[in-house]
């Protein structure tokens, strides 16, 4: 299903991944472990083509990922569910909408989207918070939203980057059981993890930072645009009407063309 052949990835001449050769079969569940900075996230990014390999060949299903055309990338990604280490939740949308997004991009029927989203939110124990906004959720709850979003489209490949880093032992066990379940249904799963936690803090801070984004301003930007267009058309319309009226008065004038005999 996934095959790396002598793959290397460099950031600023520093190898994040060097000469990686391995393969993961269909329906396998494997763990990628290593200390922080070992290149686990990089490895996953190479699979869903968020990064391009500098050297080597990557095959995912029937795709040659390193050589993929820009246009085809979305179709590769639709087969891959990713639990991002940095969550990547949209803070201006509810939990439900965040999860639903993964299905909306498939232009699925809204009724089915709703059913599947609520089902998967129940699986991760967040059904009661479906219509809350992510910023009101704890770090662990946010992580479960990310897990739900990755699973909801029932991808053939699930990439989990530190999926239980923010979870207490009990919830972590529930999530791990969930992975085993979808693995049993045939999905290929790669879980990246290091033994000790400690990433929770960074991820949570990142979320707080993005939550500060103020969407209210967009309305004003739009209103300003509407007003300037209105003024422009108003001025133009005045002149057009003036021209039309003057022309019509010229042609009406012609009826006064008189001859005396």
């Amino acid at each position: 299903m996934i095959q790396f052949t002598e793959v290397s990835k460099y950031y600023d001449n520093q190898a994040a991944l060097k000469d990686a050769t391995f393969s993961v079969g269909r329906g396998e569940l494997i763990y990628v472990t290593g200390p922080s900075g070992a290149g686990k996230t990089t490895l996953l990014k190479l699979i869903y083509r968020a990064e391009k390999p500098d050297v080597g060949k990557i095959r995912v299903a029937d795709w040659d990922v390193g050589d993929l055309k820009q246009r085809t990338i979305p179709y590769l990604r639709r087969n891959i569910g990713v639990i991002f280490q940095d969550f990547r939740l949209l803070f201006n949308r509810t939990v439900f909408d965040n999860v639903a997004l993964a299905l909306r991009i498939h232009s699925m029927h809204p009724a089915e989207i709703k059913e599947r989203c609520l089902e998967v939110l129940k699986d991760v124990g967040l059904k009661h918070k479906a219509y809350d906004f992510p910023k009101h959720l704890s770090g662990g709850e946010q992580q479960r939203v990310v897990i739900a979003r990755a699973m909801v489209s029932r991808p053939t490949i699930l990439l989990a980057d530190e999926p239980t880093g923010n979870l207490d032992a009990d919830t972590a066990i529930i999530i791990t059981k969930l992975f085993k379940e979808i693995n049993a249904r045939g999905a290929t799963i790669i879980i990246a993890t290091h033994s000790q936690g400690g990433h929770g803090m960074r991820a949570f801070m990142y979320c707080l930072k993005t939550a500060a984004k103020n969407l209210w301003h967009e309305k004003w930007i739009n209103l300003l645009t509407v007003l300037s267009i209105a003024v422009g058309l108003l001025i133009l319309g005045t002149f057009v009407l003036l021209t039309m009226n003057m022309e019509s008065s010229i042609s009406r004038w012609s009826s006064g063309f008189g001859l005396a005999i």
């Binding site: 930007i221 209105a230 012609s254 001859l259």
Partner: protein
């Protein structure tokens, strides 16, 4: 016959003969209670006349004065009257306004497209993180671009509608003012053309769509 001569002139749309008796009656009626001033005349002081209605393109001042000259030479024609000064100045004024309108429409069209272009660019960069996430989830280019195109078109249409409202308010206000002072202009002012109701929102929508298209056209994907 003069009438046949006028009828055969391709510039003439309509010929109306006004015999002098009728002209007098008209005058008496329009004078109303003051028509006693006409009692002093034993003879009808008014001439018989023809009223000609000309085609729009025949109303060029040079052509008109040429035609007048020719008509004056016809047997039986004493005088030819039209508002030559008035017509000529109206004509040059209209031509000037037309040119200004032309230039203005180009400028304003570009401005509208540009305003939407910048807005959509701003909105795009504000949502860049969101777009990045959508891409990672497997969204296609079309899925990402569509909301921006819709937003741009909506903004343009809204601008068009608002401009239209403002325009009709200004128009009805000024025309009512003009008619108050110069009631005789009532017939001259054409009604607010109904095509404007469609044109303003449409122009706004199309230009804004074009602007947003340009703004997000270069998204790499």
């Amino acid at each position: 016959m003069l009438k046949d001569y006028f009828r055969n002139d391709p510039d003439v749309i309509e010929v109306k003969y006004m015999p002098k008796e009728l002209a007098l009656k008209d005058l008496q009626e329009s004078l109303g209670p003051m028509n006693s001033v006409l009692a002093g005349f034993t003879d009808n002081p008014l001439p018989s006349s023809f009223e000609l209605k000309l085609k729009g393109e025949a109303l060029d001042p040079a052509r008109i004065s040429q035609k007048t000259f020719r008509l004056k030479g016809l047997a039986g024609v004493d005088d030819v009257q039209y508002g030559e000064k008035w017509l000529a100045s109206l004509f040059t004024m209209t031509r000037g306004v037309k040119i200004v309108t032309g230039i203005l429409s180009v400028v304003i069209f570009i401005a509208i497209a540009f305003v939407t272009y910048s807005t959509i660019k701003i909105l795009f960069y504000r949502r860049i993180e969101e777009i990045e996430t959508l891409k990672l989830l497997g969204a296609t280019r079309g899925f990402i671009r569509l909301p921006f195109l819709l937003e741009g078109t909506f903004v343009g249409t809204a601008g068009g509608v608002m401009g239209l409202i403002g325009l009709s308010v200004i128009y009805s206000f000024t025309t009512s003012r003009i008619i108050e002072f110069l009631p005789s202009l009532r017939g001259m002012l054409i009604f607010f053309p109904s095509s404007t109701y469609l044109a303003a929102p449409l122009v706004g929508a199309v230009l804004s769509l074009a602007g947003s298209f340009l703004a997000i056209g270069k998204i790499k994907y």
